[in-house]
Symmetry: D2
Subunit: 159 residues, 4 copies
Amino acid sequence: MTGTAAPELDVVEWFNTEEKLTLAELRGRVVVLHAFQMLCPGCVASGLPQAKKIAAVFPRNEVVVIGLHSVFEHHEAMTPVSLAAFIHEYRLGFPIGVDRPGGDGPLPHTMAAYGMRGTPSLVLIDRAGIIRHHAFGAEDDLKVGVEIALLMAEGRADD
Amino acid sequence: MTGTAAPELDVVEWFNTEEKLTLAELRGRVVVLHAFQMLCPGCVASGLPQAKKIAAVFPRNEVVVIGLHSVFEHHEAMTPVSLAAFIHEYRLGFPIGVDRPGGDGPLPHTMAAYGMRGTPSLVLIDRAGIIRHHAFGAEDDLKVGVEIALLMAEGRADD
Amino acid sequence: MTGTAAPELDVVEWFNTEEKLTLAELRGRVVVLHAFQMLCPGCVASGLPQAKKIAAVFPRNEVVVIGLHSVFEHHEAMTPVSLAAFIHEYRLGFPIGVDRPGGDGPLPHTMAAYGMRGTPSLVLIDRAGIIRHHAFGAEDDLKVGVEIALLMAEGRADD
Amino acid sequence: MTGTAAPELDVVEWFNTEEKLTLAELRGRVVVLHAFQMLCPGCVASGLPQAKKIAAVFPRNEVVVIGLHSVFEHHEAMTPVSLAAFIHEYRLGFPIGVDRPGGDGPLPHTMAAYGMRGTPSLVLIDRAGIIRHHAFGAEDDLKVGVEIALLMAEGRADD
């Protein structure tokens, strides 16, 4: 889906933010969308630590990190109650939205709209709302940092 | 409590074993008791991988690894339903017992009986049922392997 | 020295490059200067792997990685002959220069000119030849990637 | 060679010990022989840290760790002068012997006598001087700790 407009988030509950976030309102900033499941080993070992680092390195008014809890298996084991404890124990400070459960199948709505193949998935959305990077699995910190920085710089150059 | 008889396990539900385990019936073998919580970062990062490795290295008829899910916080987030999914996702194959929830306070029964200070906690019980090692927090793989091997060898020497 | 013009390199021997490199001729590109010693544990464990990664991620016509072998101790143990074997064994592919040994004291010339406090040291020089980052010790991959990318983007914006 | 008598060490120079070590005089103790090259990345990353850990965990009067600098390539780059600086920088405290250079080929004498395939190589010799473990490449800390502890315990059982 790289190169196309990022579908709006469909979230039923937010953590770490008082107001609901929408991509529409974040237009003008780079959005780092990190889809995870709290019981996914790869998310815990690499994806979420990377998301924390990104949130710490970039200024919030330029780059916004959003966690998306996209549960597509063991639904009864990863309820918002369990997620709240997980967020507390792992000291996650960036906004996290619970992806709306699917009606027919196991896939939640936002995950399906983005065509994600599993968790962790990382989607980078540029200041204009276009998907510029869309990947499944662990990714190298240095490489990801470079990609986000280049997207951040694009906007500046347009000023 | 090192040097004293190991209190019996008080478990309400077992995973990865068809029969309930008791220290009484395991007398004659070394028991490696690994107390954890599924949402405890230190358990996920170091304690449980170490327990898996111990279970893989030692012969089961000499050394038995038992996981003890000792929940003392976020009780509603770490129910047996969530634990079952966690065990599946993290590919834990050794027997795991759910420590009996405490009546009055947050501490479950076995955890309280052993005077554990938190999770992960590692308790090594010799072939005679005596506690020989009792520690809280991450421990070095090599050191732990040595301690268990020496306990295992003790029994052989007595033959 | 951040904000000042980068002193020219003073190198007695080059590896991995047929022509001698000078900052003067690299003007217009971002230069990543990584000072190390082959027997410095921190360089081997984190600095050099990071330099390799930087060289792999960025296009050579925009960002040039230069290793600088700045020996300030155990001089007789880290001669160019030993360095050649080290470069081969550690599969270092980017250009590496041997910092000119100091006449009076233990510090080699380029290291002294940059006021480096030890190894590893990382210096980032922008397209205009100005030092923009100057640090001693291990640095986070993601953070370093971001800094270099922003320097790289600066140039583009000016076009 | 597992199960056969360990060939005597053939060493031209010792570090970290005032007296020359021989397997003959160490009979009665377990000997951990760690063959390495100072410019071998696998030795630096895993073999030598493991040897340090073994030396720290086991009592010296039961288990003796010996490093063997078995240079079979880049001979001019890994002279005893360079090795001395390496030992200092990597804070290696156990006895290290320089394997006697081979006359005809690149392999040093002790390495050839043991039929080692490269570095790092780990050889475990029991209290009776018999080779009990002989492996090339990185090995798991827990597993190695267990093997050494069982060899150490053997002696005790015989008392």
